[in-house]
Subunit: 191 residues, 2 copies
DNA sequence: TTGTTCGGTGAATATATATTCATTTATATT
DNA sequence: AATATAAATGAATATATATTCACCGAACAA
């Protein structure tokens, strides 16, 4: 019938948006720059996304789903507790470390004028599996009996800041030896 | 000679900027809105600040200095180690909790197109006192012998995320009973 | 009291940026 | 091959926003 939608083009637009947000922050994001970086015309952006707001919200949801899939793998959860905990903790850190543009984007979305509460809520549902891991640890009396949200905030905050300081050049995280940062995480929540 | 500079006006401009950044993020910050919120004319903004970039950088440095003063008080450092640690930890958390607009601004400055490296570096120097606290803990063999930057990133990341989740309504921090979150912090770094 | 100097003003201007749309191009269907 | 359909284009347009500036008025000095 006609020229089909080009999914690769959507990926290029996503990648361009991420790159530019990492370089210049959310405030510096311009549609013309996105188009240039993605090697499409500005008008093409509006073929795939209604406007800038929708581009940003669609990308946010896409990233949250992708990341959750990466660090909450079903096969990792089917293990002795401490091993599950370590795998999820390490995967979360490695995702942040390997895709810093994605973390930067997610962090900034939260405080942007583009945030749509329903999109935010949908993304938050993805965390349920993480709560479940901690609940299992508590039922096995290996984890402090505190609110799992409190524990999650503490654990994720630590990881995100470690990665931030890594990219600021203040510390060096070695992906082949994460024992030291893991000991901080584990000792803080273990019973 | 003439009408003197009005320091209160600068404070109003600062406060207005913070309020708007909290509400709409860095990307939504408009000079016209700042002027309206501060109850001055747009032109007045340019009497006190060369342009938007300077307004933001001046405010950032002002906030970092103010916050460092709040949570690194000399009299708190002159105590038995664990008490110093608790005081600094708690003050850092309470500053974030009591002035969430300030933390939001600082967080976003870091990834904005307005960031000026020399300003950022100047602000980072303020952390030296925090390193010193941890170094004392290590010399007294009370703190794990890890890089103090690693420890600081972990501790501050935890606090900032806890406060963020508090304001998102996911957890509730009670300023009169911070024992649970403190136990997470202390157990993670103690020897 | 008067003159002088800046602070203060906000409409006007310049600039930057999002979005549209007439036109062209590519693909699938016939 | 011819046709239909939708993607793709990017200059033109609309919009939004930063910044300027001619004028006003408050404070101080003489």
């Amino acid at each position: 019938m006609a020229k089909p939608r080009d999914e690769q083009k959507i990926e290029r637009i996503h990648a361009a948006t991420l790159k530019l947000v990492q370089q210049q922050g959310f405030g510096g994001l311009k549609m013309a720059d996105v188009a240039k970086e993605a090697q499409v015309a500005t008008g093409t952006l509006y073929v795939y996304f209604k406007d800038k707001v929708e581009l940003i919200n669609a990308l946010y949801l896409h990233l949250k789903r992708k990341q959750a899939k990466h660090y909450l793998k079903p096969e990792d959860l089917d293990r002795p507790f401490k091993m599950s905990f370590r795998l999820v903790w390490e995967n979360f850190l490695l995702v942040s470390l390997d895709f810093p543009e994605e973390s930067a984007f997610i962090e900034q979305y939260y405080r942007s004028p583009f945030l749509r509460p329903e999109v935010r809520n949908e993304a938050d549902l993805l965390l349920q599996a993480a709560h479940d891991v901690l609940l299992r640890g508590q039922s096995e009396e290996l984890i402090k009996p505190l609110d799992t949200s409190l524990l999650l905030a503490h654990l994720s905050g630590s990881i995100l800041e470690l990665v931030k300081w890594h990219y600021a050049g203040i510390i060096q995280l070695d992906r082949t030896n994460l024992d030291a940062p893991f000991s901080l995480a584990w000792d803080s929540v273990k019973r």
